[in-house]
Symmetry: C2
Subunit: 192 residues, 2 copies
């Protein structure tokens, strides 16, 4: 598979850089042979070392049910090529059918043989939920430790994002089917 | 002041759209005549109605001290024109001097006469902290209700971002002084 050849580990203390610019994510979860996927924008880093993330997952989603049963989930960071699937993954439920197949999404495994990672994405994070019943119940808020991370070196290497062309850029969701791609990169001299 | 003439209310149930694409923010706080500002990327929506946000604010910051004393803070969403100040606001402390003056940042007030909003930004949110001692102490995580929001209609109107030129685009921070601007906008047809 092409994807496995473009799949390199990201140092865990730099995993926050995969999410720091606020891209939309695909959340996948699996338990006892069942699996699901949904899109989520409300995902951000929480800590550097150990690397943690915090995300909001609605209590009515099937993805959440599988997250809570398995204690884990993965984040795949899609590029513009997958924008239509990202939108569709956020607006249908996978309770009744396999949403991956319905959306034409291929998956592969990282270090965890249960958790599907979405092929064709720019980066991936495997996460272990740190149980916080109060946050989960009252706020739909999950806190998790990042246990492994990878990126396609065509998009992210040496701790930096770099996008070769518009279709490989990561996505930022607003509302009603409207996205932004990640734009122009520039640096500010801290000494200036 | 030019800014006040380009400052229109955003419906609170649509305030999440100001943050949904993951822009870097400037967090301001004030208490009893003291005030401060810092940049923060780890900020995201938590709920639509009532509008809530969640953000990570390090326990050693002066901004946090003033947030905890006053129970409130504001978020200003800067554009590329302010990138140098955003970087500098994240790398110096305001304990010893007025960081607004040091950075050449002008401020104004929204509905709260204590909280400074940063002039020249694209949007602003005033927030009231919902006290969560456990999240604050263990995770540096703050949950707050958005009590008022505004945007510069040149950048955001009718619930949508629209950027006239590159310098007016919002920012996404990665690391080491490297930013992305918010890129190309596009829509996916949900029926497709």
């Amino acid at each position: 598979m092409t994807t496995t050849s473009r799949f390199e580990p990201v140092e865990l203390t730099k995993a926050y850089r995969l999410l720091n610019h606020g891209p939309v994510t695909l959340v996948t979860s699996a338990h006892q042979g069942r699996r699901n996927i949904m899109s989520a924008s409300w995902v951000m880093p929480l800590d550097f070392d150990p690397a943690k993330v915090v995300l909001v997952i609605d209590r009515n989603t099937y993805t959440r049910e599988l997250m809570e049963q398995s204690g884990q989930f993965a984040l795949s960071i899609p590029t513009r090529m997958l924008a239509a699937q990202v939108l569709a993954a956020g607006s249908s439920s996978g309770r009744e059918h396999d949403k991956f197949a319905a959306l034409g999404l291929k998956t592969f495994h990282g270090s965890n043989q249960e958790l599907p990672l979405v092929a064709g994405c720019a980066a991936w994070l495997e996460c272990r939920i740190l149980p916080e019943p109060d946050n989960q119940q009252r706020h739909d808020l999950f806190i998790a430790e990042v246990t492994a991370a990878w990126a396609d070196p065509a998009c992210f290497s040496s701790g930096r994002w770099h996008f070769a062309d518009e279709q490989q850029r990561t996505l930022h969701y607003t509302a009603g089917g409207a996205f932004f791609s990640t734009g122009e990169s520039f640096e500010v001299d801290p000494g200036a």
